[in-house]
Symmetry: D2
Subunit: 261 residues, 4 copies
């Protein structure tokens, strides 16, 4: 029996409650719609967490039992507690998968892990987006034909200020004339990261079957492999060196002392 993959869907859940348009499209909140799409795959065990919960719903216990985390946020990036961002970052480095959705490009956790501004250009005009598959054999693109279309979406355009991805899985074409790297992967520590562009809150994007399929594929792709490495910057005392050596010269640290941080 294969162990089921545990996915936590994190949602900001602000516009979902305050904005009438968003509330109509996503009556239970965007996170519940994203979770519903993931639950179409019975091999995934899906829970949700939101900004307004204690510790944003991302306690040590929850993260400890999360294999893959999805992240959607927009107007409240600044309200995410830095201590929680530290915790999520640590878990990604230990191997938890992370799927960053749409406006999550500006989330603290995405910028933290990538080290760049993650800025882009944008236009909210409900225009057509067509996403092209760059590697038809890639696990994240399975079940998608050469491309799929989203009838109404916000436009995101280049320059997208990210470090060079390990692989670009999707490129977007927009009716208004832009092109964009819409699906991209990175590895940080032992964790896999996937950025997926679609999902502006005023359109029913997370109800669309191809978008849900890609997110399910991405969850399975981002599943931890190997083991959880908790790194500690250990001192290796002279007497435990793999080769016999005799300590020479002056020292700064006393024997057994921890290093500076």
């Amino acid at each position: 029996m294969t162990q089921k993959l545990r996915v936590t869907v994190w949602g900001e859940n602000v516009h979902d409650k305050k904005n009438e348009t968003v509330a109509q499209i996503y009556p239970k909140g965007m996170h519940e719609c994203i979770a519903e799409g993931l639950r179409e795959d019975a091999s995934l065990v899906v829970r949700t967490a939101t900004l307004d919960q204690p510790e944003h719903g991302l306690t040590e216990a929850v993260l400890d039992q999360t294999d893959v985390l999805t992240w959607w946020g927009h107007c409240a990036h600044g309200k995410v507690d830095d201590a929680i961002v530290d915790r999520v970052q640590a878990r990604v480095l230990q191997g938890m998968g992370l799927i960053v959705l749409h406006s999550g490009h500006y989330s603290k956790i995405f910028k933290r892990l990538l080290g760049t501004t993650c800025s882009l250009t944008w236009r909210e005009a409900g225009e057509k987006e067509r996403l092209w598959v760059c590697n038809p054999g890639h696990p994240i693109a399975q079940g998608i034909d050469r491309y799929f279309e989203i009838p109404n979406e916000e436009m995101y355009g280049e320059p997208f200020a990210i470090p060079n991805p390990d692989e670009v899985v999707f490129l977007s074409w927009f009716a208004g004339g832009e092109a964009f790297r819409s699906g991209a992967t990175w590895k940080r520590g032992n964790g896999k990261i996937f950025y997926f562009r679609p999902g502006h809150e005023t359109y029913p994007t997370y109800h669309q079957k191809e978008v849900r399929l890609v997110i399910r594929n991405a969850a399975r792709w981002a599943a931890p492999e190997g083991s959880r490495w908790i790194d500690t910057c250990p001192n290796v005392p002279v007497e435990k060196a793999a080769e016999k050596i005799v300590a020479q010269g002056p020292t700064l640290h006393k024997a057994g002392e921890a290093g500076y941080r």
Copy 2:
């Protein structure tokens, strides 16, 4: 006439003053010794900056006129002001080169740009280190033979918790039995980053000619190329789209409004 390359050498300058061993080896401070090595190349204009100066010596004006910044810190990483780290990060993304030295692997700026813990294993035993060239044609390795040795150094060992480098220029062999990726490059935004391992403060490493040569080479390699891109995540209004489109569907932002951050 070629414009001279402007290098700023940043030094923590704490042990240099407090620790007798360090003070004897580096009577003017480590930063002055590193700067002296850089000044052996007359095409470089070199200044220094230290933790104890206002804004750690890294004012907007100084950074604006810095092409390449070198960074050495150890016991006082935590005392570096986050606002200054933000400023340095922004300049690197705009194209300023960054050379991170030795214990700078744990500096805020290095961890910020790479997004990982940057931890490693270590031993302070004054053992022999031999650095091998991985690409003899690389600009940073010019003038170095197949390898060079440092008679007494602190050991740094794998795992080195960094994102995969763009290129590994040096590998180290240690007498105590470890191997390490001692020279590695990354690009973030338009800025080039080089990590160079040697330089424990209780040994005269920055007096050694090969170490100085590598740092000079690295400064020239890390020189900004292209132009300074200051990214702003601009909105592209519908009427300025490259292709004529008509806005459709509900919107969140009013015309001309800035996006969320």
Copy 3:
């Protein structure tokens, strides 16, 4: 029921028969010893193929049913038929995993997929090799502690003329003073490639349990994921364009014509 992973172990099988030392260590041939190590994992179905078989044992049918191929060759790289190399390359791009062992660094298939000379420095002195784990969480390093040692091995040293790997999993330390990138990964097309350094034919390396463990780990890591993409450079006729367009200007190709190759 999970489908078993099908591994084909390719061996040159020349020294194994001609050289007395090699024959004593590997009486059934090196490929059989490597296969034996893989068979310790019951989830793998392992077969062998050798240079002297028709089509070097790598017929279309065999490759079609191979998920992961391991490659060991040394004195007869030049005798491998280019048509078979084409075939193996095509299968790797379609998603078959490839594990290149030791002197396979100079095999046609490795050089073909990487595009560089893959040269290195070497010394046959039976010296001690210690392999360090660079990412303890990586699937290929599972079950290995911080390092493992091989008592007698040929030395391979830098510069190793390869394109920058996607990840360096092991670094070697040699008693004679060298360091080397001994375990490295790449992706080409949809296929995963792992180079693993140990395995000189005059030493019993492939009998050692850690070496066998790494190769088993690597086989599972290199398993195809996603789907087999057979690329064909298709023409997209004007009338099938995703957006309606009218052909303009002069043309070179008649409608429906294949492109040049």
Copy 4:
């Protein structure tokens, strides 16, 4: 005085002579038009070479004095002598820059260096192409605004079967609905490679000022840096090991013998 950069423009020069449309647009051949664009920068010394010349115009002497080579070919890729491809590959690995243009994606040299099929989808409909800058600070994008347009071009679409680039400098948007990675960089050995998509022979693309500007920028970017490394896979005899060791165990090679290839 800075030494001038020596650029060799290689052209297939077949359609240029045989096809009336191409001959009208490029009366002196496409290579001469590309060379003319490069000569707008007086710091470049530009010569041309074509398929029909002895050794395709790429003798040892010519390559030895070439800093950057540009490559355009289409209908006669198969007529390029493998020995010349070997020679060009060797020079790229030694540090010569290579700029591959348009249909050169299917040239022997590009496929050789990248190790993949380099296939893509295509349509010859004279449609509009818009190239977006992905990193405004990148040297190759200098002088280009957010984008530039080519009124009539052949379409190239994803999937583009290449190894992940080091950096994507341009993305294309096509009127017919596709998007494409139109400007991409790699490093192989010590050589820099840039692929630039535009340039179908039935349109006056190489007369367009933005296209010429990008190619000039790319030539300067691809200039060799560091030194020319001619790798040889040298044996390091036991007595010349950096650390004193005594040879142990059986050997395959006699002292001083060259390795197998």
